[in-house]
Amino acid sequence: DEGRAAFDALIAADGRIEPRDWMPEDYRKTLIRQVSQHAHSEIIGMQPEANWITRAPSLKRKAILMAKVQDEAGHGLYLYSAAETLGATRDEMVEALIEGKAKYSSIFNYPTRSWADVGAIGWLVDGAAIANQVPLCRASYAPYGRAMVRICKEESFHQRQGFEILLTLANGTPEQKAMAQDAVNRFYAPALMMFGPPDDASPNSKQSMAWHIKRFSNDDLRQRFVGMIVEQVKVLGLTLPDPELRYDEETKQWIHKELDWVEFMDVIKGKGPCNAQRLERRRVAHEDGAWVREAAAEYARKQQLKLAEASGKAA
């Protein structure tokens, strides 16, 4: 039919779909799933870093970290809004998150055990997120792409801050350097897994690429990321916990150690060190805040009524 033809033509021309445009139901569903998961990741992702706000070791770092975690809340909000343009409601999405029905990036189910983890998250996790997200700025669904543009700008700022935290630690006392190395050791593999399973085990990717949501395969993105951090880690004076890591000149590929995809799948399924904790924190915040949201809604209702009455009288 006409809608589908227009959609296909737009995609073929690498154009942008707007909310009012016709789109296939699968495209809509895929996007709702992806965008809402992305939003959940921002919101849950606040927790591991918020864990160090009250204990940040200098006031400057405290301020930077507070601002960063806030930015993540902001990203969550843009993304929920983007998903809402596809017909999902924020309440539904939040409900699904709290009930454990929705996914989010499994990296946030690892704890932040030391201050250096805040640096490692900035450098590696935000770094991987950027590698993933920069191509999403050109996603075929326009509101998602626009949200990504805004988010990527802030993320790269965050990544630099994380790098700077690690750099300072790496140039600090021996204990500080050890703390930095330990954090890198723990976040390296989970960060590499953020790009998802190897291409041959990622069946949904093909359709997403055909729809111009995804632009590069998981493995391609992982390659780029590895290439990037291999250089950066030298500047830090730290090492990546991967003795097998090397560049294969023939295939032009980075060879890295085998990743533990069993653990990855376990964590996705809810068995990470912090899955239960992250969801419970969100649930408690939501439940404890119910009376506030109800009050705000009731107040708004009363204000509406007053306005209506006033305009009624005026008429």
């Binding site: 009250t54 006031l59 405290k62 507070m66 805040g289 009050a295």
Partner: protein, 247 residues
């Protein structure tokens, strides 16, 4: 000048401790918008604290971090109001109302401080504090004009925070010395305006003025609530494990 610095540290202490309290809300607020709003207010206060402490520390050769991380509990000069945990949205809003209105009045007056640095920091802070007042006011209206439960809770919150509010207006000898030279404002001189402003918000919210009695508070001489020790233990733990380290 030592007095000026000491006064700046007092101003910084209140904001630092309250920023630490507000930071707790980030990732725990009733709405995601409030994670951002409360975080922003905390961040503003932290910024003010840093400016005041950097200035205040100068005359005694201390950095903002020396002051925040290496003073003992009885060296802090914060008021009790900012030390109370307030891990309940109603409590936080009640405190924000009391404290933000006070800060707005204070910084407005400090625009004319004869200490140029204090005047400049106050000028910058004032714009932000105006937003804090507005934020607290809007929530007072919503909670006071919301549900039966929200009315009950915010009214109770006002009662719980009220005993600590009066300490904001206690004149200490330092204030008196500095008011004489036009550096500081006598806290007591803000009380009348504060009463009027706060009363107006409470009344507009359809709530009753608190009847709770004033608590004996002496934060300005280093006698603190039982809460401050816990807050400092957490805030200072990491910095103190690495004396002399750079972050």
């Amino acid at each position: 000048a030592a007095d000026n610095g000491e006064y700046a540290i007092w101003l910084g202490d209140d904001s630092l401790i309250l920023a630490q309290r507000l930071a707790w809300w980030i990732s725990r607020a009733p709405e995601m918008e409030e994670d951002i709003a409360l975080g922003n207010i905390g961040l503003d206060l932290l910024g003010h604290a840093r400016s005041f402490m950097t200035y205040g520390g100068k005359s005694i050769g201390k950095t903002e971090d020396d002051l925040a991380y290496w003073r003992e509990e009885d060296e802090f000069r914060s008021v009790h109001l900012v030390e109370v945990p307030g891990q309940d949205f109603g409590l936080t809003i009640a405190r924000q109302l009391f404290f933000s209105v006070y800060l707005e009045l204070l910084y407005t007056r400090l625009l004319n401080s004869t200490d140029a640095t204090i005047a400049a920091i106050s000028a910058k802070a004032l714009k932000e504090v105006e937003y804090h007042v507005d934020h607290a006011t809007q929530w007072m209206l919503r909670l006071g004009g919301g549900t039966e439960e929200s009315v009950r809770r915010i009214q109770h919150s006002l009662e719980v925070m009220w005993p600590y509010a009066h300490e904001l207006f206690v004149d200490e000898p330092l204030h008196e010395r500095l008011a004489a030279t036009g550096v500081a404002v006598l806290p007591s001189s803000l009380k009348e305006d504060w009463d009027q402003r706060v009363t107006a918000v409470i009344e507009e919210s359809g709530l009753g003025m608190p009847v709770a009695k004033d608590a004996l508070c002496r934060g300005r001489v280093g006698e603190h609530t039982e809460h401050l020790g816990y807050l400092l233990a957490e805030m200072q733990v990491l910095a103190r494990k690495f004396p002399g380290a750079t972050w």
